[in-house]
Symmetry: C2
Subunit: 534 residues, 2 copies
């Protein structure tokens, strides 16, 4: 285990404080041998996230990096409500934008629905009400007037009942279908335990609510949602996931069934990322969403809903991709993609040339659609290098008198050793290539960690031998219908793991005669995945 | 006055219904002579917004165009909460994006603050509380538990008290200043009278909250906010405004003073667009936002806040720019910039070529960053032309067998008569030029209408002679401090106009000896602007 460094990144501004204890250990002096200080780096500039080991001290590391990189402020005087600081907001805006582009490419249109619903709407679907009611924030007063019971307003914990009330007016005939709408918004749920970017009373997500004329199309949409999740979250954000069909007891309140994706955080616990739900006709019958079908008869429509939480995906992105030096953002997500660092020259004249060149390059990059900043603060270059590595900027340009004279530019990647010199006219292409390689590196490293986290245990004894395993247990199991609930409880009790469900797209069967590991004494009908979870 | 046509644009889908009464009047047959049907346009396709005259029947025209162009659904069962449909959301997202780019260009950073505040925060600034409390939505219950009085949560009606609570932790020294933060979000106010995109219980805005080390910088920021409003709202959205210093009784609760911009809707009533407020030290003293100044002493910081409502600006944009055929969007704001309409050819082979060419052009335009759609529905071309003119798409491409054969493309602008033929390789440039001219036309027409709406009346008799004037009265007035309030009431009583304030940037003085028109019997010290208002 690492001892925390005595070095602290400043709480504000971009300055690191000098070590108050007069020096002390360096981030590189840890037992893991993964991280080495560069020679040009004085001790006081040691990367702050190396105070803790991400994998072994995740509970300490995670809040520390959120604070060091100024991603979130958790000190607000209302429980579970956070302030999202510019660096994380810039990244989440990019993530929203990439996700929305894919939703629109696949036929979804954006809309904005009300943030509140009258109580009567929430009550229309009984299971849904029961599932969400304990977490609902209720508005009961306006100014100094009290709303009559029955007219009080719920702050949306999710938008099914809001959107489907409106949909019932929009949908009449086959010409109105399919209807595919998404909204990017906040939802509010009074969670008891909150954790920044993982569980909050206010969080930022996208919800897509689609309506079809046939069950088959709805089922296809659920599969399309899974494919979209894979394309965006894994393909663009580099976060690996396991998509499973959730057990009956974990199905969305009001849905026929639920598929959900789990990723793993560095502590080996599963974190649910998006889920997609086949609602079938469960809501359409309650909210009167019907159409005249081709036989001229009225038919209730078939629905799906899909909810990727940008907020939580951001938390996973931070946790999965960071290394000992700090954040690492995929190129398209990075709040800034390039930081230009002027290197002090020998003459004031040369300094002016350097400054001018910095501005020219920044402008050139921005014209090419690359987000770039100049760090012309008074800090030393070594400090700046570490700071922007901590902040996860993919590419650094070091610009001194030689570069200012024109011709070549020096590039450093967040994920590659050494420097690269490219001619100015090839700058954009070189940066995009570097970004591409960075994405590949992040994805490959994350995939390897993820894929190494699966273990198959065919008996309870095998599970006991591997009790310390951090990640997924693949185990023979009786049933993910409600009759499998007691085995769920027993495994939870003994191993603290939760059965997450069966793998989507594969019908994984245990060998004949294999028993359920949950202790029910029944033969196992399926392989399921279990893990500790958030 | 026009009689409403018996023609109705369909409530859903893009189809217009056939006239149920078997024909009837055409939109062009009105007494104003402004609008003439094109020859290729059958009666049933008459532009629906021509049912009403925008200027003479605004109260009928405005909700009709919102419905016809599918911008908003107002039928939700919670008063003052609306559903924003894809076409308006796409435009408002563009408007957000353009505004945010300008805020960031001028040094603002994005952040997301909580949507709720504990009661204690709202109570910290007494005037602010008094101003907003009657409109506050209060959360008093979570699930089935009741929050103790004093812990209840207000849904933000504006974010001063939320953000400044957080700012007090972020600001300590000169190095932390200036702090310039904006957030794009919704706010909620329990308005009694609501009107789509003009006044709602939920609306979409940007709020920028800046903190400085000196009063001078804060004052400069207020002027910079005015310049930014002019640049974006007038320069990019084409909406003219008059910026005034608001009278004391219209100053933001808790501010030193308020500047606000009024535009005019076609009914001649003023609508407030953004306002910017000099808060000075009024909030910093209550929220303990202080810094150590260069003399080593603690000093309370100087603040400004600025609130452009994208939602309301969108309403103004619809109202100001629309013509008899429907919406007209500035090129950069348009949800889609180009609609490609395939024209049926004589052979199936040619039809296939046309379809293929449509796809090629769409792809070519999208690569160039131009938003384009193909309308390949079964409707007739004339119907489609009218539909997309109603929807305000700036450029139409008509694509038949001749164009599919390659070489040239036929373009039609939303604001120019006739067609233009351009060679394919000049397509992007021709469209951008067309967009530029369209913007110039929209702005010039809006400016002319706006500038023609000012009348100067030096006496109450002159005002009486011009009582029917629709627009701004420029009048000599006693005082916009609190002692001018009685004259405000008298003018409101007699003319239904509200004194809006004194023009920013000009010290407009009436001639010596000129009396206040408000009836106080005092000499006028200033020229003010008055108008009917929303």
């Amino acid at each position: 285990m690492l001892k925390p460094l005595q070095l602290h990144h400043s709480d504000r501004g971009s300055g690191a404080q000098q070590d108050k204890n007069g020096g002390g250990s360096k981030g590189g002096e840890n037992g893991k041998g993964k991280f080495e200080h560069r020679k040009d780096q004085p001790p006081a500039y040691a990367p702050v996230s190396s105070r803790y080991d991400k994998n072994l001290q995740f509970a300490l590391w995670y809040p520390a990096i959120l604070q060091d990189a100024k991603l979130i402020d958790t000190k607000y005087p209302a429980k579970g409500f956070f302030t999202h600081m510019p660096w994380s907001v810039r990244a989440m805006k990019r993530m929203y934008s990439l996700y929305e582009a894919e939703l629109e490419r696949t036929g979804h249109e954006p809309a904005w629905f009300p943030a509140v619903m009258p109580e009567s709407l929430l009550k229309k679907e009984a299971e849904h009400l029961e599932g969400f009611n304990p977490q609902v924030f209720w508005i009961t007063q306006i100014g100094s007037s009290t709303l009559p019971k029955g007219e009080r307003l719920a702050l949306r914990p999710t938008s099914e009942t809001i959107m489907y009330t409106v949909y019932s007016n929009w949908i009449n005939g086959l010409a109105d279908l399919p209807l595919k709408i998404y909204q990017s918004c906040q939802v509010w749920r009074a969670e008891d335990e909150t954790k920044a970017f993982i569980r909050g009373r206010e969080f930022y997500w996208i919800e897509a609510h689609d309506v079809f004329a046939t069950m088959k199309e709805a089922e296809q949409q659920v599969m399309a949602d899974i494919a979209m999740s894979e394309k965006v979250i894994h393909g663009q954000f580099g976060i690996p996931m396991l998509f499973v069909k959730r057990p009956a007891w974990d199905t969305f309140p009001g849905a026929e069934y639920t598929y959900a994706a789990d990723t793993l955080l560095p502590d080996g616990k599963a974190l649910q990322l998006p889920s997609t739900h086949l609602l079938g006709q469960k809501f359409s019958t309650k909210f009167d969403i019907k159409f005249t079908n081709s036989d001229g008869k009225e038919e209730y429509a078939y629905q799906t809903c899909y909810g990727p939480s940008i907020w939580r995906i951001f938390g996973a992105l931070v946790a999965v991709h960071a290394d000992e030096r700090g954040l690492r953002f995929p190129f398209e997500v990075a709040p800034q993609q390039v930081v230009i660092i002027p290197i002090k020259a020998k003459t004031a004249e040369d300094d002016a040339r350097v400054a001018q060149k910095c501005n020219e390059l920044k402008e050139q990059l921005e014209k090419a659609g690359i987000r770039a900043i100049i760090d012309d603060s008074d800090k030393k270059p070594g400090f700046k290098y570490n700071h922007w590595e901590l902040m996860g900027v993919p590419v650094r340009i070091e610009l001194g008198a030689r570069e200012a004279a024109g011709g070549n530019v020096t590039l450093v990647s967040r994920t590659e050793p050494g420097k690269i010199t490219v001619s100015e006219d090839k700058l954009e292409a070189a940066i995009r290539d570097m970004g591409k390689r960075l994405n590949e590196t992040l994805t490959a490293e994350a995939d390897k960690t993820f894929n190494d986290s699966f273990i198959t245990c065919m008996t309870i004894e095998e599970m006991r031998e591997n009790k310390a395993h951090r990640g997924f247990f693949r185990i023979p199991y009786c049933s993910i219908a409600n009759d499998g609930g007691e085995c769920f409880d027993r495994l939870k009790q003994e191993f603290e793991v939760a059965v997450r469900g069966t793998k989507v797209g594969e019908d994984e069967k245990p060998p004949e005669g294999c028993m359920c590991v949950g202790g029910c004494g029944r033969e196992a009908g399926m392989m399921v995945y279990a893990a500790k979870r958030y």
